[in-house]
Symmetry: C2
């Protein structure tokens, strides 16, 4: 176990840096991010060389080829990381934004202004680009960041960190504003999660097990980027050719991401007309269908029986659950019970029905007549995102720079006292 | 220990009600709140009779007179509770408010709208009025509420709950939208705090011990209403007579509340001129002064020596810590280290200095030339408040109706699929 005193030292240094970060202006932050971007490209060879050590270890351990692919750095990926830093530099700085301003009858002028949160802890797994992406987003939003990456990426993460840290040391920003925890055991992570005196927010990015561990052990507020069990409900009032196009896109275009569709709900009135052709199209694209009893009555060929647990499953793969429902309400209830409050869509031409769906489905992003695949910081126009929150408090849905800030009230008086 | 199945039953009922609450309109909610208000007044005799049981028990247990006073219900207090419900009815409904709306190049129309959070758990101590105040605020903001009051107020809380529940049963709102947990042991509270599947947010209102227990044991996000260690810094550039008036008000006007001043910081350049008269005025009002070494050199009479722990103390009483500092930076560092991020003020005529203070002090409400006593929902113009958050995420400072909501994105398309 990493020594507790070392963890304390790092989070204290981050806190001290965070107090200075509030006075750093946008120009300084942007200049730094652009220099960091260039530094990544300049040091590509070194980064790839360090990354090879992680890859070699992973191969020796017999890790899956999917994991090894996520780990791998190459010129194109380093270029993409550098690009992300430049894009972050180009985004509007949320810090200092005036959210509201009002004058009270006693003359007090109250302003609600956007400020950095302070120290943000990111706990993540395999992908090394998360290191530079998060450093960029946290610096731009005026926060200090404490990074704890996966053991399997430790050489890569450290190399990226050192390259970026060099640039901070030759800037006017406080040196402690980025901190890298050694990749290590859960016990040390558990200790980090109790440092609510120094760390203001924790974002775990990774599998369900990691997120569960973090939220059960943290005394620091956690913003969870949980699984996406996304639904599309095809109403009996849908344009069925639009429905087919959207459902196909939501499932097939990129099945391994959180905003892909996992369950398709179809109204019983149009199921006979809609399902045969739709399922055929899915099957031709290699999608395995797991259907309810009624689905299997309509399409007899190649539809597996959906088990109870399938409705709660995030496949992240070319697999789809299909269920026939008798009403809008049944669809809404199914989504609110089995969904993950991420992204859900209705396909309908009926405006009233659409409004009921939009109001009743308790998810961060609710669509009418569009693919759930659009839940994404870039697609929403926020630019680079730190993730997609499935929580309800503080930040919900795509989290960009603004979601990495909080607010405070500043109040101007001229001697007011309370009566 | 209360049976776990009973707790599960109540939180499940609250969740089911919350799903219906999103479609209840403002008029229905307001009508209900006004009927609840009348019901409290009509049932005053019954409420006072039940309250007597709590008072008798408290007296038998030898509870402090301050606690017994907090417990007591009388006509005036019941009228105030009824008034609070009417005031809440009169406030603007935050639900449905459009926070932002934007169209993307692909034609998607994205709206960010305010929605209820869902199920809010309130864990509180002695004051019975919290029961009706919180029910009013949660209903108006479209949430279901699970209440867990103090054991010492159990007869009073139950009586208030039953009177208000009668009104819900004869309204169109879902019956389960208010739930009262039996007042009981911490074990049951611990179990309640793990029901993140059904409860969306927990607000503990009470002493430090309660808040610590809740935040260490909850898997549900917690908004803390922590102590207020508020500071006033009297700069060398202050109008000293304004400083004296504000400091006196911040300490003496109502010392037992969280936005009262606990520590006064004074610049060394004006300490000789400012402190003798100021401390004399405090002492005449019965304020005990605990000063640093330099304060005690300037005022020799009746100033106790401040111990290290005094800088971290919330006195909630006629006691004041006083410290002489040599710079704005020293004042800011002291506040960020020893304060509770609640409310802090600078008294100065120098605008640049004021801006540095406003930017650098990491508190929910930062004042220039006014008393910290103004941090309050009514004073800010928000109306009734559920408390004052000392957290940074989701809600900071006075929490009114808007802070009891979250948002979601609703997206209107006409067939868009992701490329």
């Amino acid at each position: 176990m990493v020594s507790e005193s070392m963890i304390i030292k790092k989070v204290k240094a981050a806190k001290a840096a965070a107090e200075k970060m509030v006075t750093v202006d946008s120009a300084q932050k942007n200049t730094l991010l652009r220099r960091m971007s260039r530094a990544l490209k300049k040091n590509a060879e070194y980064l790839i060389q360090e990354n090879r050590k992680d890859i070699a270890f992973a191969e020796k351990q017999g890790y899956s080829s999917a994991l090894i692919d996520r780990l791998r750095l190459n010129d194109a990926r380093i270029k993409a990381m550098a690009e992300c830093l430049n894009e972050t530099a180009a985004l509007d700085d949320p810090v200092g934004e005036q959210i509201a301003s009002f004058k009270r009858p006693n003359g007090l002028l109250i302003k609600k202004v956007r400020v950095p949160i302070g120290v943000i802890g990111i706990i993540y797994e395999s992908r090394p680009n998360v290191t530079s992406d998060c450093i960029g987003l946290c610096i731009k939003s005026g926060n200090a960041v404490v990074l704890k990456g996966g053991k399997e990426a430790s050489f890569s993460n450290k190399a990226i960190f050192l390259v970026l840290r060099e640039e901070i040391l030759s800037s006017k920003l406080p040196a402690g504003c980025i901190q890298l925890m050694p990749s290590t055991d859960r016990e040390s992570v558990g200790f980090l999660l109790k440092q609510d005196k120094y760390v203001d927010m924790i974002i775990p990015r990774g599998g369900e097990g990691l997120i569960r561990f973090v939220s059960q052990n943290s005394t620091i507020p956690v913003i969870k980027h949980y699984k996406g069990i996304c639904h599309t409900y095809v109403s009996d009032k849908a344009d069925l050719s639009m429905a087919a196009s959207i459902c196909f896109n939501a499932k097939v275009q990129r099945p391994g991401v959180c905003n892909a569709m996992e369950t398709m709900l179809v109204h019983s009135k149009i199921a006979d007309r809609f399902l045969p052709e739709m399922i055929k199209q899915f099957q031709e694209a290699g999608v395995e269908i797991r259907g309810c009893m009624r689905t299997r009555k309509i399409v007899k060929k190649g539809v597996k029986r959906a088990l109870a647990k399938d409705w709660d499953e995030e496949y992240l793969d070319l697999v789809l659950s299909v269920k026939v429902v008798d009403s809008l309400q049944e669809a809404v209830d199914h989504i609110n019970t089995h969904g993950s409050h991420h992204s859900d869509a209705i396909i309908t031409r009926d405006k009233r029905e659409a409004e009921v769906f939009l109001q009743s489905v308790d998810s961060s992003s609710v669509y009418v007549n569009a693919s759930t695949r659009f839940t994404d910081g870039y697609q929403f126009g926020f630019g680079a995102e730190i993730g997609i929150s499935t929580d309800k408090l503080h930040a919900r849905g795509p989290m960009g720079l603004r979601e990495l800030t909080t607010y405070k009230y500043i109040i101007y008086g001229n001697g007011q006292i309370r009566q």
